[in-house]
Symmetry: D2
C-alpha cells in the first residue's frame, strides 16, 4: 500500500481519535456504541429508540434518511424530513447522530443535520462522493465495500483525507461469500489488519454482516475482543415491522442488553465503556 500516505500508521503507537462532538471521540480507550434503526420511519419511532437507548452505554444514534435500495420501487427513505427528525431527536436526547450520504448534492444538508456522515458499502468507490465529503470537516464513517480488498478500502479513505478531511472512521461490515446462511461474512481479520496498517479508528457492523439478529450479540463481543473501536448495530422498537432489514434488527431491550454485556469484554482488552450515554432529555 505504497500510496497510503495519509492513512498509514507511522509508528506502532500511532493512532488517531476522531472527535464527533466536544464530548465524544471515536478511537480512544473508550469503546463507542452506535445504534438505531436501518431507516428513519417516523418521529415516534426515533423518539422511542432514543428514549430507550439514552440511559445505556450507547452514545450515538444511527438511522437512514436516504436509503440505498436494490430496487427503485422499494422505500427510499424519508429524505430531508428524515434528516430533521434525526437532528431533533439527537439534540433532545443529547446523542450525536450518523446517517448515510448517497449523493454529492446531499452532503450539505446532511452535514447540517448530522454529527457524522456515513459512506455506504455501495459507494465506497464512488470517488466523486469521497472527494465531496473530503471537502467538509464533519467526520465520515466509511464502510467497506462488499467485495473491497483492504487496499481498496484504505485507498478510499485516502481519497477523503487527501481531499482535506482527516476525520475518517473505517467500518468493517461483512463481505460477500458463497454461503447463504449468513448474509455476509464479518471479516474480523480485516479489523485487526486495519488497526495495524492505519492510524484510523475501526468499528464493526455485526448487523449487516450477519443478517440474522441471533448472531449479532456474539459477533459484537468478538469485534470488541479483537480491537474494534466501536460498533454500529441495528435495532428497532418492533423489529419485525422494520421497513428494511427486519431480519437483522435487535429489539430495543436486546440492544441495551447487548450494550450491558460489553464492559467485561472491553475491560479484558484494556478498554472501557461509558456507564451511560447522555444526560436526560429536555424536550423535542
Amino acid at each position: 500500500m505504497k500510496d497510503a500516505r495519509l492513512t498509514r500508521k507511522q509508528t506502532p503507537s500511532h493512532t488517531s481519535a476522531i472527535a464527533i462532538t466536544d464530548r465524544l471521540a471515536i478511537g480512544t480507550e473508550a469503546i463507542t456504541l452506535i445504534a438505531g434503526p436501518c431507516a428513519i420511519e417516523s418521529r415516534e419511532q426515533m423518539e422511542a429508540v432514543a428514549a430507550h437507548l439514552a440511559p445505556s452505554p450507547i452514545q450515538m444514534l444511527r438511522g437512514g434518511a436516504f436509503k440505498p435500495r436494490t430496487s427503485p420501487y422499494s422505500f427510499q427513505g424519508l429524505g430531508r424530513a428524515g434528516l430533521e427528525i434525526m437532528r431533533d431527536v439527537g439534540r433532545a436526547y443529547d446523542m450525536p447522530v450518523v446517517t448515510e450520504v448517497m449523493a454529492v448534492e446531499q452532503v450539505e444538508a446532511i452535514a447540517d443535520c448530522a454529527d457524522m456522515l456515513q459512506i455506504g458499502s455501495r459507494n465506497m468507490q464512488n470517488f466523486d462522493l469521497l472527494k465531496a465529503v473530503g471537502q467538509i470537516e464533519k467526520p465520515v464513517l466509511l464502510k467497506r465495500g462488499l467485495a473491497a480488498t483492504l487496499e481498496e478500502f484504505v485507498m478510499a479513505a485516502e481519497y477523503i483525507m487527501s481531499s482535506g478531511n482527516p476525520n475518517v472512521v473505517l467500518c468493517e461490515r461483512g463481505i460477500r461469500s458463497f454461503d447463504t446462511y449468513t448474509r455476509n461474512v464479518l471479516d474480523l481479520g480485516a479489523v485487526v489488519a486495519l488497526k495495524q496498517l492505519t492510524h484510523l479508528p475501526v468499528i464493526a457492523d455485526p448487523s449487516h454482516a450477519a443478517g440474522r439478529r441471533e448472531l449479532v450479540a456474539s459477533l459484537s463481543k468478538a469485534a470488541i475482543a479483537c480491537g474494534a473501536d466501536g460498533l454500529i448495530v441495528e435495532c428497532h422498537p418492533e423489529p419485525d415491522r422494520s421497513v428494511s432489514d427486519a431480519r437483522q434488527a435487535l429489539s430495543l431491550d436486546a440492544m441495551t442488553a447487548l450494550a450491558d454485556s460489553l464492559p467485561a469484554i472491553a475491560a479484558a482488552v484494556g478498554r472501557t465503556l461509558p456507564a451511560t450515554s447522555a444526560p436526560l432529555p429536555v424536550a423535542v
Copy 2:
C-alpha cells in the same frame, strides 16, 4: 426478480435493440465490437487507434477521460480535454464513442461528446448517478459490479429505465473470485441468463475479466458463442506503455486479428459481423 418491471423479457422473443447512431444499434443480428485504450492519453494515441481500427469490423471506440482509480494519486484521466479528443477522433473516423461517466456533474458534458455513456463497475449501485443517466436519452452501457448478483445488476438497469431512459446495454466484465491467476472471472453464465431474463442487449468485456492479454481472444470467441451481442475490448498502440491496465491491452494488430476471427463464430450462432466499421476518415 419481481421488480424487474421494465427490464424483464415479456415473451421468449422479446428483445430490444438500442440505437447508438442512425446507422448502428446494439442488440440486432449483427454483433457490435467496441475497442480502444483504457485511458485516453493523447490525441495522437486516439488517432492511431482509430486509424487502425476503422477499416476493421470494429464499429465503436472506447477510451476513458475520467478514470476510476484505486489510488487518488494515480492518473485520473485527461478529463474534459480527453472528451474533446474522443469526440473529434470519433467524428473524423465516423466511429461512435463510449466513455465512462463517474459523476452526476459530468453527465451533460459527456452526453455532448459521446454517443454512449458507460457506468463503471464501481458505480453500478451509485443510484444517484443511475438516476442522472436515466434522465437523458443517450444510451448507457451499464457494467456489472465486481460482486453484484444478477438481481442487483438487473435492478440497476431498472433504476435507469424507471428514470426515463430505456436505452440500456448490459455488460458482464468479470466478477471477483479467490483465484489470482486471472484478474476476475468472466461469468458467461450470467450473459446467458441475462439474455433469458431481460430484453436488453448484453455485451462482454473480456479484457477486465481476464486481466491478461493472452486470454482475451479466446474469451471473446466464447462470449459471442454463448449469445453476447457484442464485445468491449482494450487495445493500445503500445500496450506495455499504457498508463493503466497495460497487462490486459491488446496491440492494435492483435485487436484487428481478433475482430477478423469472429465472423466464423458469429455465423455459427446465426449472427453476423460487419465487414468494416466505417467509411474513410475525412479530417480531424
Copy 3:
C-alpha cells in the same frame, strides 16, 4: 507454478492427446462429447440413454455408480451393480464410459469396468486417491475443486502424473461464487489459461457449473469456442425424475440437439466433431 514438472507445456505447440480406447482420444483436433445421467439408476435408464445418444456425435457415456452426496441419508448410488450396468451398456453400444471413483478401495473395480475414472471436485485434493489413480494406466478425468486455484488444480494433476499415470484430462466444472442464480460460475478463463499452461486436454462441464438446464447449451458453445477439447453434460430420459441434480439435466432430445449444434462452432475454431459416435449396438 515451478513444480508443474510433468504438467507444464514445454513449447507453445506441446499438447498431449489422451487415448481412451483404440479409436478414441481426447485432445486431438476432434472435440469429445461425453453425456449421460448424474447417477446410474437402472439398466433400463442407461439403455435408454445409450440408445438415444449412440447415433449422435456423442462418443462417451457418463454416469455415477458411487455418488458423493452432501447428506449421508441421500441416495449414494448403485455401487458395483451400477458399474456392471455401465460396463454392459457401454460395450453394447460401443461407447466408452467414465464414472467417478470416490475411494482407493474402489479403484480396481472401477478400472475393470470403466474406460476412464473421474476424480470429483470434492476429492481434487484427496491426495491418497490421486496417488492411487496414479498407479493405474486408465485415463483419469480430474475435476477442478469448487474453490481450487489453477495452481492447486495443476498440482493435483501433477500428483497423478508423478505417481506414474500420464493419462490425465482436466475438467473445469464451475467455481463457487456469491451469486445464487447459477449453481456455480463456469470459469472459461481457466480453460484458456490451462490450455496455455499445460499440455493436457481440458474439457468443460456446463451442467454442474450452471445448475440450470436452460443455460447448458449456450455455455457448451462458449466452451468449445474458447478452446475446450470436449464437454461432459448431464442428460436423463426423464430429467425431472432424476434422483439427483434434476434441475440441470437435459432431456435426451435436448442433448442430441445440443450435439448437433456444435459442429459449426467447432469448425469456426478449427476443430471437428464426429458425425456419429459409434456403430450400431449388437446386444446387451
Copy 4:
C-alpha cells in the same frame, strides 16, 4: 438442514462435551487450547514445544505427521516416525495430541498414537475417510472445507456420527475470499451459527485463517469472545525455519503470552481456562 439428525441441537441448552482423555473434554465451561507446529519435524522440535507449553494453560499438542501439500514435491511429513514422536512427547508431558489423518489406511496407526484425529479442510467431503473415522471411537476434529457451506460442514459431521462415532468437534479455520492480504477469512459468524444449530463443540483455527502471525492473538480473543470452545494455534521454536506455513506460526513465547491473555476474555463470557495444562513431565 433437515438431515442434521444426529448433529442438530435438540433444545437451546443441548450441548455435548467430547472427552479426549479421562481428564480433558472439549465443550465444557473450560476453554481448550491446542498448540504446536504445522509439521512434526524432529523429536527435538516437539520436545522443545511441549516443554515450553506444558506449564501454560495450553492442554493439547498438535503437529502433522502426514501433511497435505499442494505440490507432490513438497515435504509430505515424517509419516509413522512422526506419529511415534508425537505419541512419546505427548505422554512424557502428559499432553493429549491431535494429528491429521489423510487416508483410510492411516486411521488405525493414528488412532493408536493420537488422542484425537483431525480431518483437514481438503478432506472435509472425503466421504470414504469420514466413514472410516466414523467407525472408531477416538474423537475427531473436523475442519471446515475452504469453501464449504455450513450445511455441507454439518453434514460432514453427520457422516461421521451416522457411521457410529459421536465424538466430533467442529473447527472453523477460515474460508477462501477475494482479498489476498489475509490467507483466508475467519468466519466467526459460522462459529456462532454452528453453536446455535448443533450440539457439538466448535473451536477456531486463527493461524490458517489469518496466515500472518501478527493477526493471530487478536483473532484468538475474538473467537473466545463469540463462544468458541477452544482454539488450535500454530507455533514453532523457530517460526521462520518452519518447514511449512512459517509465516503464520507464533514463537513459543508468543504462544504462551497469547494463552496467558485469554483467561480475562474467557471470564467475560462465563468461561474458564485452566491455570496449567499438565503436571511436570516424567521422561521421554
